[in-house]
């Protein structure tokens, strides 16, 4: 069990290492798009949390 768990952790680590550096050139357009996407997702998560909390309170 522990061996398979550690193998899994190693697998995740190797994936993270393999894809550490984004291959796409980080031009201003790409940076802006990714930043907008981050903000958009944060907003959505905040909305979902608000909905979840308001359902719990009600």
């Amino acid at each position: 069990m522990m061996r398979s768990l550690s193998r899994l952790v190693r697998k995740f680590h190797s994936i993270n290492v393999r894809y550490r550096n984004p291959r796409i050139g980080m031009s201003p357009a790409v940076r802006t798009s990714l930043m907008a996407l981050r903000l958009y997702l944060l907003l959505l998560v905040a909305l979902m949390l608000y909905k979840f909390v308001s359902l719990l309170v009600a």
Partner: protein, 422 residues
Amino acid sequence: MNVFAKLYYRLAKGAKAVQLYLVIAGPGIVVMVADNDAGGITTYAATGAKYGYSLIWFLLLLIPVAYYVQEMTVRLGAVTKRGHAEAIFAGFGAFWGWFSLVDLMIVDWLTLVTEFIGMTSALEIFGIPPWFTFAAVVLLLATIVLNGRYWTWEKIALLFCALNLVYIPGAFMVHPSVHDIVRQGLMPNLPGGFDGQLFFFLMANIGTTIAPWMLFFQQSAVVDKGLLEKDIPWGKFDTWLGSVLTVVVAVFIVVVTGTVLRGVDIDSAAQASAQLQETHHWVGTFMAIGLFDAGLLGAICISLASSWAFGEIFGWAHSLNTNIKEAPWFYACYFFMLLSAGAVVLIPGAPLVLITLFVQVIAVTLLPAALVFLILLLNDKENMGEYTNTRTQNALGGTIVLLIVVLSTLYGVSVLFPGLFG
């Protein structure tokens, strides 16, 4: 005589072209027809019942929308030979990669549950218990994927795509007024004025036309099929035909419910089928068969989208051209998704309505990201070479993506806060 000989020659040539297309058809047509899944059928049935033929023009507008988005996955897959998940990991790094993969897994699993809801409720109309439907579907899908050949899987999927056309005779059987369809349906109009409810329906129709799993599925299928750059025109044609077919089927569903169930509140396609059976027995039966087929096609594709994505990232063998011994993790992932999602439907009192609503909300968190990545990847000259998006393609694709992002977000928000738009 010469005229007849020429005519024969042309017909024979046309028949050969059709035969050739049938041999190489897919995966564009499969993914586009599977887009009319159980949730989609419910949306179209409800749209027809609520607004009659009035929104047919809007559905027709969705043909190019679906085509331009899916066409980009054909080019990306054929040129890079990478699935969408792998392309995101490689292009944008591990953070965005994991985000997309985990989100895809959640969306796919939840959507798969809705497909099982559709299939079991459709067959319940014929008195078949849900556990039997579940067992039969799993057995059928296992037989389809375990044959060890992508080609065979695709051709069987195409057969189920053909069954999706069952709505067309159904529409003719209710004798709709062609004059009314043309007058009300083909002239752009907003029935009853623009209000919150109409907005919700418009967004729901867009939401069923473009789903995140479709991007991942088609790109991975293009790679698994082994399409090359020279095959891109065929892949585009296949996708175009699929997008026309999917909207045509949607229009016929709207015609059926718009003719018979106008003014009735529709909560599910199964409810629409049962109600149709009361007045038009065979039309209701066709609707139920179509709903089962839609759920089955959705299940065929969605379960594969996740397995391919995980295989690409974890480095497992992940092709339908391999058998279970060669790709055990790929098939384990496939069956885990299928069995766990199907089992949920069998749990007494499971929150199925909540799950259906949750799918739409979670999909909204993945769709914009997947679409933005798609546009950025298609602008990567180093990898895409001559297949990089042109300015026109960027303007067109960018506008469509922006519209989908805004509208699907509003749709997701309106599901979370139903009273927000009045």
